[in-house]
């Protein structure tokens, strides 16, 4: 684990707590909670991720996927994306993103570079 000065850890935690109190983030957290409480939506999304991983693994091994399998994947994805609880969570996250970007800009200004490009594991 990376060692981090106590004051930096506290400043980061304070920023996180203040974000949690912001309207768009609160709305997202509520939508996320509603999603977690909906067994049907959770199960549907887990099925999609599981199918995606399975198909990707087979493709990486050079296997050609059948048209039916690809269509089944697209159909499941359509079902997930059109589920009202899932789409509300996704919409809330999209709505929160510009807000988060505004806050991240404040860090970037202090640094002189884009904070978000260095605060994520290398792609």
């Amino acid at each position: 684990m990376t060692s981090m000065a106590k004051e930096i850890r506290e400043a980061a935690a304070e920023l996180g707590r203040s974000l949690r109190r912001e309207g768009p983030v609160l709305a997202y957290l509520e939508a996320e909670q509603a999603f977690r409480s909906c067994g049907e939506a959770v199960e549907l999304e887990q099925r999609l991720y599981s199918l995606y991983e399975t198909l990707m693994a087979r493709q990486r091994q050079g296997e050609q996927l059948s048209r039916e399998e690809v269509q089944a994947f697209h159909e499941l994805r359509r079902q997930v994306q059109s589920h009202p609880i899932v789409s509300e969570r996704d919409r809330a996250l999209q709505a929160a993103k510009p807000h988060l970007a505004e806050v991240a800009d404040e860090i970037s200004v202090a640094l002189g570079i884009d904070y978000t490009s260095l605060a994520r594991p290398e792609e």
Partner: protein, 134 residues
């Protein structure tokens, strides 16, 4: 006359509290040895003539590749060779090390922010060139 507000969704302005907290964190991060070392490595990189020469040569091969003009693969091969040459330059190696160190710190900091906020911060705060705001 029926005057309606713009149909554009309003982007909520962050509260002063979040802005101030972000500014304070930014100042602390800017003062860390990791970040200072990264800036120094970046300046050295920008000033290195070998790096600049390699950059110019690499661009001369990237352009034909972008235009799909590399039927015999010569540009791709040259680009790979130049990339290897670039990575072997000491100032580039020092930059990579400094970048890795500052990234490790920032990723850890971001994990703390995200944990407290309840939402992954940097990955969702990233601006893209897309006007859709995604």
């Amino acid at each position: 006359m029926d005057v309606q507000a713009s149909s554009q969704p309003a982007v909520a302005v962050p509260a002063q509290e979040a802005r101030k907290a972000a500014q304070a964190l930014g100042r602390l991060l800017a003062a860390t040895p990791q970040y200072q070392a990264f800036l120094e490595a970046l300046r050295a990189l920008d000033a290195d003539l070998d790096v600049q020469r390699l950059g110019v040569e690499m661009r001369s091969h990237q352009i034909p590749l972008q235009w799909g003009q590399d039927a015999d693969g010569q540009h791709a091969a040259a680009l790979e060779r130049l990339q290897q040459e670039l990575e072997a330059v000491p100032v580039v190696q020092r930059y990579r090390q400094a970048e890795a160190a500052v990234r490790q710190l920032f990723v850890a900091v971001d994990a703390v922010i995200s944990q407290e906020a309840g939402v992954a911060f940097a990955v969702n705060a990233r601006r893209s060139g897309c006007s859709c705001g995604q």
